[in-house]
Amino acid sequence: MKYLTPEGLAELPAFANLRTDVDAEGVSVCDTVTGDVTRFAYAFSGTTLWLGANGRTYKFGWPEEGLEAGENAARAPMTGRVVAIPVAVGDTVSRGDTLAVLEAMKMEYRLEAQADGTVVEIGASVGDLVDLGHLLVRLS
């Protein structure tokens, strides 16, 4: 996901050499210097814009609250069921310790602490079905 903010967009180069042409089926981007044309298919869902060209997909979106960089927490990386939360509020954990185990598509995914810390909040219980981005364990 590439986050586009008004501020961020304003700082981008103006792509003086790129000419865009939007129609109902897609967007053609022509590089007026090289003559290369890339044709993107697109689709919107809520605040996400999907683009696809040459077998690659690009996702543009609006930064959501709580997903800011540097947050010391384990959030659900996909929709799934909580299998285990082997920590409790007040526990001290080290980088690499398991904070939660999630199951989706019959496979288990282990979420590890990205840094040392103390558990300050548990956001789900074992057995819960959680959505993408749901807070599971927050560290100080």
Binding site: G55, M105, K106
Partner: protein, 475 residues
């Protein structure tokens, strides 16, 4: 059970495999019917006479549906009940043909620990292993006695579920418990076996087809490119298998199949070490995900053969099996390769396959939404050409011409993998993907420009915050 001509077939499965089996059945003039769950309402496989059930794993409900729909045969696909001997038995008990091996064959070889014993008795090499064990204590003791590196596997398993690599003994209990939960959830069986881990290794498997007495082998498939122990690119023939090795592998596979009275389609999996030695891994008592590469190079339809074998038609002779060209399959999965291949879900907003390309086969059964409830496989793209390089290029072109928007997929990663020096040279092992440094590719300026062009105009229905923000417009 005596040979029977099938008139109506139920597929006890979903997604691409259900659609693929229906295609052959319909071509053969056999009527078809389906089961679906609440999560698959309106899915392509259910677009026919169908009944809703609670769970594809529920033997009683599947059988009740088959009887109600008056099906006289069941194809189990792969996963779910495909290798469940109780299900095979229950089908035959109701007079319904089960398109797969018999329950007793499944017990003898579908179970990894039983298969190991059978194969050792035949003199086919296997890697050192112990089990099956049920208690965590026993599994841990076995692991300690063999010593790492080890593979922990579900005795009943397949598809990477419950499979864990043990690098060191520290934290081993967590791994065992996690593996047992996975295998229990997937197969309702928590028995594990512990095996010595062969490294570096290639995963090569032989397709067999049996009639209950005689078996034939339909060449090998190279399946070394795996992530999370699940294959993502398969091909036939294997670039690592010489003509002489192929003969030895096929002979071993036929021997294993015939000893167990194998009926229907099955796969005998082997590991190849770097010295050209091979070790029996397991028998998959089912039609496998990657069977199309074998179909393309042999010109045979394996589902048709399964139906014919059940109907008493005799198998082709081994010497009449011909191999033509090279076939490569790529599995398009709902997953994020740039976030440790985590599965993704979402609504399919746009879907477009390359159309009318000669030598490209697409097996798909994608519905309008992809839920995290089922396997992440969305579709298989399979290329067939006169040689490996031509097939590779054809598959890359097909992936590049595919559009699937609305959820994260491994589409771009598959292109990168097919164009990697490892794949191009044919020199790779089961740990090649694990050892790759997979980073999110940069977003090209053209994509940003396209996004800006779309967000500028009133051409879309998205509720972007930009709409209310104002002065950000780009030149």
């Amino acid at each position: 059970m005596p040979a029977r001509k099938i008139s109506k077939l139920l597929v006890a499965n979903r997604g691409e495999i259900a659609c693929r089996v229906f295609r052959t059945a319909e071509r053969m003039g056999i009527r078809t019917c389906a089961v679906f769950t609440e999560h698959d309402e309106g899915a392509p496989h259910a677009e026919r006479e169908a009944m809703q059930i609670g769970d594809y794993l529920d033997i009683e409900q599947v059988l009740a549906a088959a009887l109600k729909l008056q099906a006289d045969a069941i194809h189990p696909g792969y996963g779910f009940l495909a290798e469940n001997p109780a299900f095979a038995e229950a089908c035959e008990g109701e007079g319904i043909v089960f398109l797969g091996p018999t329950a007793s064959t499944m017990r003898a070889i579908g179970d990894k620990s039983e298969a190991r014993k059978t194969v050792i008795a035949l003199g086919v090499p296997t890697s050192e292993g112990l089990g099956p064990f049920t208690s965590v204590e026993e599994i841990e003791a076995a692991a300690r006695s063999l010593g790492p590196p080890l593979m922990l596997k579900a005795a009943a398993g397949g598809g990477g579920k419950g499979m864990k690599r043990i690098e060191h003994l520290e934290g081993i209990r967590d791994l065992i418990e996690s593996a047992q939960r996975e295998t229990n959830a997937a197969f309702g069986d928590s028995r594990m076996i512990v095996e010595r881990y062969i490294h570096p290794a290639r995963h090569v498997e032989v397709q067999i087809m049996g009639d209950g007495a005689r078996c034939i082998a339909l060449g090998e498939r190279e399946c070394s490119l795996q992530r999370r122990h699940q294959k993502i690119i398969e091909e036939s023939p294997s670039p690592a298998v010489s003509k002489e090795l192929r003969q030895r592998l096929m002979a071993a596979a036929i021997k294993i199949g015939e000893l167990t009275g194998y009926r229907s389609a099955g796969t005998v999996e082997f590991l190849l070490d770097s010295e050209g030695g091979f070790y029996f891994l397991e028998v998959n008592a089912r039609l496998q995900v990657e069977h199309p590469v074998t179909e393309l190079i042999t010109g045979l339809d394996l589902v048709q053969m399964q139906i014919e074998v059940a109907g008493g038609v005799s198998l082709p002779k081994q010497e009449d099996i011909r191999f033509r060209g090279h076939a490569i399959e790529a599995r398009l999965n709902a997953e994020d390769p740039y976030a440790e291949f985590l599965p993704s879900s979402g609504r399919v907003l746009r879907l477009q396959w390359p159309e009318g390309v000669d030598g490209i086969r697409i097996d798909t059964g994608i519905g309008a939404t992809v839920s995290s409830r089922y396997d992440s496989l969305l579709a298989k793209l399979i290329a067939h050409a006169e040689d490996r390089e031509a097939a590779r290029k054809k598959l890359v072109d097909a992936l590049k011409a595919t559009v699937l928007l609305g959820l994260n997929t491994n589409q771009g990663f598959l292109v990168d993998l097919l164009e990697s020096p490892e794949f191009v040279s044919g020199r790779f092992s089961t740990s090649t993907i694990d050892n790759m440094d997979i980073v999110t590719p940069p977003t090209p300026d053209a994509a940003i420009a396209a996004a800006c062009a779309l967000l500028r105009g009133p051409t879309h229905g998205g509720s972007f915050p930009w709409n209310s923000v104002g002065s950000w417009e780009l030149a």
